[in-house]
Amino acid sequence: MAAGLTAQGRYFDGASARPHPVTVSLTDRLAVSGPGISRDWNLLDLRATETVPPLTRVGAAGEAARVEFSDEALAAALAARCPDLYRRESRGGTLRLVLWSVAAGLSVLLVAVFGVPVLARLAVPLVPDAAETRLGRAVEEQVVRLLNEPPLCTDPAGRAVLDALVARLAGAAPDLPRDVAVSVRRNGLANALTLPGARIVVLSDLIAKARSADEFAGVLAHEFGHAALRDPTRSLIQASATSFLLSLVLGDLTGSTVIVAVGQAALSAGYSREAERAADAYAVALMNRVGGNGAALAAILERIARDEGEDDLAFLRSHPFTRERAAAIRAQAGPEAEAKRILSEAEWASLRAICGPDAAKPEKSRRRRPGSDARP
């Protein structure tokens, strides 16, 4: 071995904080000696803890005793001779850590995308009716507040026609969980929302945009479809579970919040295409059963999609999908549907006046589609 290197240092015995001045010398072992101190460490046992050069602090692994010295030549020689001097438990594990956490993150994402919808579908029948009703009431309050408290439309003649229409549809509708509550509110959006607990809120511009009673009844039947298939409750459970899952995993670090926002928007904006198609099929079957024009739903869908134009959500709910839906609706309704009428002209006129005579004109600038439904 090379000639010994020595330096002055301070030794701490690990039992008290008192510094002992010592001489540190490196041969094939590390010797620490001073008044009353004589230590002799095997180089393989030595560990250094992080310090700022020139200060070096070493001690034997698993021991509390430390020696501190400020001699760079000795520190360099020590580093050259002690293989494990700077060994840390996690050394070299970074790549493995990165790979495992990427895998874990992907698995959670997959669960969020594919697993949560399945779980939500399984969970919906478990929600008690009473809870769903209360939930629907709470969500309706929230939706009404979000829409700036649009007034309820209660014109008696129009309301009577609507009640009769709802009763007629509900009488023929299968699987409808309970009494449907349909309310009309005066608002410039052409939309109808189905909330948990079979609560349907119709916004008055939808009635204004409808050219016939069958178009309006078609949208209503479509919403009945969502209610019968319990889409609103399922979508609520799904959205909550997804956002909970994503925020759990991503924690709090920068950048991640953006991913959460985009992810939630893409994952839970409205219902899935399958849910819309199912509600369309339900609506056409229901309209055929009560003797209405099932194809009218396709007409109002197309009209409002055209008015909608360049919507901010257009990239998520693209137009070819509307065309596809309309074609499927017409095919299911059959050619003879066009001749059928669900209400008389007089009844349709009083229904149109449910929000007062001036609300019957459609608002030009508004754009939103029926059946794009609630995001409660």
Binding site: S16, A17, F244, D252
Partner: protein, 423 residues
Amino acid sequence: MDTSPRAPGGRGTAVAFDARLDGLTGIAVKGFLLSLVTFGIYRFWYMTNLRRFFWSRTLVDGSPAEYTGSGKELFLGFLVALAILVPVYVGLFAVSLLSPSLAPFSAPISFLVLFLLGQYALYRGRRYRAMRTLWRGIRLGQDGSGLAYAARAAGWWLLPLLPLGLAFPFMRAGLERSRIRHTLIGVERMGSTARGRTILGPWLLIYAVALLPPLALGLAFLAAADFAPPTDLFVSKGGKGATGINPDYDGTTLGLLLVGFFGALATCLPLALLLVPFYRARETRAFMNAASLGDVRLVSTLRARQFYWPYLVYALSLIGFVALLGLIVALLAFAVRSGAGTGGMSILHLVIVPLYLGGALVFAVLYVRVIQARLWAAVANTTTVSDAEGLGRILAAARGPGSGLQEGLADALDVGGALQIGF
């Protein structure tokens, strides 16, 4: 910044922080990027690296502190905390789902539950950090019950609500006393004589700046209106629910006082925020001076300007960076418009994402280097220990390093940062 340990006056000795910060940028960049790639899981290892860096550069009587915690412990602690928190969150969600009559109370209930858990988590996190800290081979520690601390904290937080926040300094001092008196260095217990009245002055200053002018103008307004403000004072302006002051009152004393009141509200609160570093510096100094270990006392000469400087540098770099960003985006938008390409806007979007990530990276690094390191340095370098000989009398305890799972709850609840200045 003072880098060498200052000459100890008398038998006193300095606390010092080596502010050269070589290698800190590397830790921060690696920590940020890997945290991003690993969905945030790397943050526990990042935090550990940062702590090891800061601990090893903090010298008391020439000996640096030693951090022996590991990222794995923090991560496991986080997983255990999730096991506690998931049922709590699910329970809170189920309560609001199943009985909407309770829904209005679910926000206060969750706030209370999470507040208590948060205080408990803070105390446990502090215990973990203490137990993973060695100085001259002697392990620090913390005893006492996290639940008792949470209950005390809840009591103290309720108290300031009663006399309009005036009890705040007393709360801070009370919690500081209970934290410090449960802190152990080896077998020695630390003591604290922190008193609320020593920091009442700075707190009252914030209070006076934030509240007095609006309060005075508001009272003057009420007096001018004979304590019966006219009902037509506010009129709705334009669309949805926007209201403004009725123009009929323009130029009248009443109108001026009302405008003054809102103006004072809008200016005094930001001004009071500017005083927060001043308060923090005074509080840190008072609490450091109150701390002791047997006969050994800490002496702090911290000045408020040493707390302002890092924030000023950080704010200026923020402004500079945002200005640069704006310039780049404006230039790009101009280039795209003159290029008249239809794909131009999507190119702009493609540029914005890296810019956003780059900006976040720059600020993460700046935050660590400027705010955390400089505040830490300001506190450490202005502190001296009154009696170097007294430090030598500290004896190690037979305590082990304790459980490694104690800090996870704090991370899961997002309370308590990676680094906390001072004790």
